[in-house]
């Protein structure tokens, strides 16, 4: 029983990370019908920017002297990481995807693979080919809740993830810009005719999605303790799986899918085998796509002639 509880806690933490990344896939897919292959590199970029910001600013005594300063340091690092990743996402959209908006669907996908290859190797060549320890400057406390071990890091990650998810959900469903985003995803041309600035909305989507992915990258760095140039690949595919489980294009679906996948994976790692936990995630991806391509919350799409 305790193993189940422990794995559930790990699963929820992992699921939070997946949900954050999955939102990036789902937002972009909802608007452009494009699998943003480079999204896993946004995750990596966020982690690296966070790393450099933390390393640079932790030399200033003001930030490390008090716990308030430390909190401020992490807030700054997260903002820097998210903004930088978001800008990189917009840049990618502008140069790699916008010229291909009316091209056949394979073209932007191949372009996205190219961006991913480029960014991964840029990090490999210009930063490091090894894994780098991610600075954790505060003490991690462990809590014992009914025999289940919960760390303050896990609480922090799950708490901030849920906060970010709520903010995004409110933004998309309640604000005017959010309404415009939903309109563009339903029918781009019609939204344009109604006066929505399509390019602006798409660029914004490419800011929000990668920014959330970047935040997930920093959480991942804090959680696992190190970052590497190819750290985005496996979480990227798994988060895509999460987006598909929930129904791609559906925001709440991506959140649900993320937590579902995290949970399944943690339980599989605990009870079946850690070596095969990736196989289980990929197998779920294939099964969902083959048997229920609409996902849990998605609508079934009829192929139009």
């Amino acid at each position: 029983m305790e193993i189940i509880g422990q794995q559930m806690v790990n699963g929820i933490t992992l699921g939070g990370l997946y949900a954050l990344i999955a939102l990036g896939y789902t937002l972009v897919y909802g608007i452009l019908l494009l699998i943003n292959f480079a999204h896993s590199e946004m995750f990596m970029t966020g982690a690296y920017v966070g790393y450099f910001t933390l390393n640079g600013l932790s030399k200033i005594e003001f930030f490390t002297a008090s716990s308030g300063g430390l909190l401020l340091l992490y807030v700054i690092a997260f903002l820097a990481g998210m903004i930088a990743t978001g800008l990189l996402g917009m840049l990618t959209e502008r140069f790699a995807y916008r010229p291909l908006r009316n091209a056949p669907r394979l073209a932007p996908l191949i372009s996205a693979i190219g961006v991913s290859l480029f960014l991964q190797n840029a990090a490999l060549l210009w930063i490091s080919s090894r894994s780098i320890p991610f600075p954790v400057l505060f003490e991690i406390r462990q809590f014992d809740i009914g025999g289940v071990n919960v760390s303050s890091m896990q609480i922090l990650i799950v708490g901030s993830t849920i906060l970010l998810l709520l903010v995004l959900d409110t933004f998309v469903s309640k604000t005017r810009v959010g309404k415009a985003m939903r309109a563009v995803s339903q029918d781009r041309d019609a939204a344009g005719l109604m006066g929505v600035n399509i390019n602006y909305i798409i660029a914004l989507t490419f800011f929000i999605g990668p920014a959330l992915g970047g935040a997930a990258g920093m959480f991942s760095g804090m959680y696992y303790g190190n970052i590497k140039y190819n750290m985005g690949f496996i979480p990227g595919i798994k988060s895509f799986t999460a987006a598909v489980i929930g129904g791609i294009g559906n925001l709440r679906g991506a959140m649900l899918g993320g937590f579902t996948l995290g949970m399944i994976e943690a339980l599989a790692a605990g009870f079946i085998s850690t070596g095969y936990k990736d196989v289980i995630a990929f197998a779920i991806l294939i099964l969902v796509l083959v048997f229920k391509p609409g996902g849990l919350l998605g609508e079934s799409v009829v192929e139009k002639v």
Binding site: I113, G114, I237, F282
Partner: protein, 404 residues
Amino acid sequence: MGGSKMELRTELDTGKWTTKRIVSYVLLALVVIGLPIYFQSVGNMFMVRIAGVIGIYVLLSLGLNIVVGYAGLLDLGYVAFYGMGAYAGVLFGFVVQDWLRGLSFLGDKPEGFTFWLMLPVAALAGAITGLALGTPVLRLRGDYLAIVTLGFGEIVRIFLTNYSKLTGGAAGLPRVGEKIPPAAGQQWAIDTFSMGDFVFTKNLFWYYLVVLLCLFAVFVIRRLDDSRLGRSWVAMREDEVAAASVGISITKTKLWAFSLGAMWGGIAGVTYAYWIGFISPESFNFMESVLICCMIVLGGMGSIRGAVLGAVIIAGLPEIIRWLATLDIFSGFITPEQASLLGDYRFLIFGGLMVVMMALRPQGILPSKRRARELHPVDEIEKDHEDQQLWEAEHKTNTPDHEL
């Protein structure tokens, strides 16, 4: 538009032997046959090996070109077939070589025939894996298909890594006490073709073998291209619904594409395994799939020449440039240091190249005419006009087609 008709004709014309064509084929043959001998005679073993590796990639890119280029199914897990061919060939080869050793009439080293027996076995293993992947994903659209094939490739790699009882795990094959036997004919070739100071090495033997396999692949794929199946692939790629409505079985056409494409992956895998004498799951990772895909994109989807050129550029260009930099004639252009820096930046450059190619020349360097038109949307009227010309050109140059 006057010139475009001529262009279309030269593209489709496969029968005429103009002087220009003969000269270029002879030159190409001289380079393909002669360059490795030159490398060997100047003692540049590294480049002989690279030549063989390029050959393996040409085979892979020709195979993937069937799936991606002809049938339009983006497969990001092609390396799974390559891996299955290698592992099936080696594992089954262990059993077969014991059996062969008992057959004394095959000469003093009967286990040498293992490779030759495993070649069709690996082709079959690849094709069956292709069917196994193809069947469940029949209904999936382009981008979903890409992700599923990617997942499939990773599943195969993870199984090869974790199922160590059979596959030797991350340490690879052969394990201690096992041996991948050298192919029969290798020693004969070494003895026969070594003359004086010139040593015909194992790598040269495998290089020429790979070249022969590539020629065979080009021959088969070229025949397929003109066949009923090849035309069904193109029809399906251009519009699945329209193709189905004129009586093409989408199921059959897709499965043929998957299995015929995967077959070449299997052949490349077993050849690589018996040449190098060692395999491990890390040789069959996702990056390889991306690189093979990149070769086709760069060379030109659906074009045989393009697939070959793409493979040569991606698998060999950094090494070729590094070699050229050591030659006296090129010493002014690029230093060996710059060339080796270029080698480090290869993946970065290929990634950037994929983006640039998609934006500026999605049809690739040496495109097939049909594919180029699909990827470059043109004005509708002009398109109709070109369709007419393509149709006319096809019917003038090709012999009457009885299947139609």
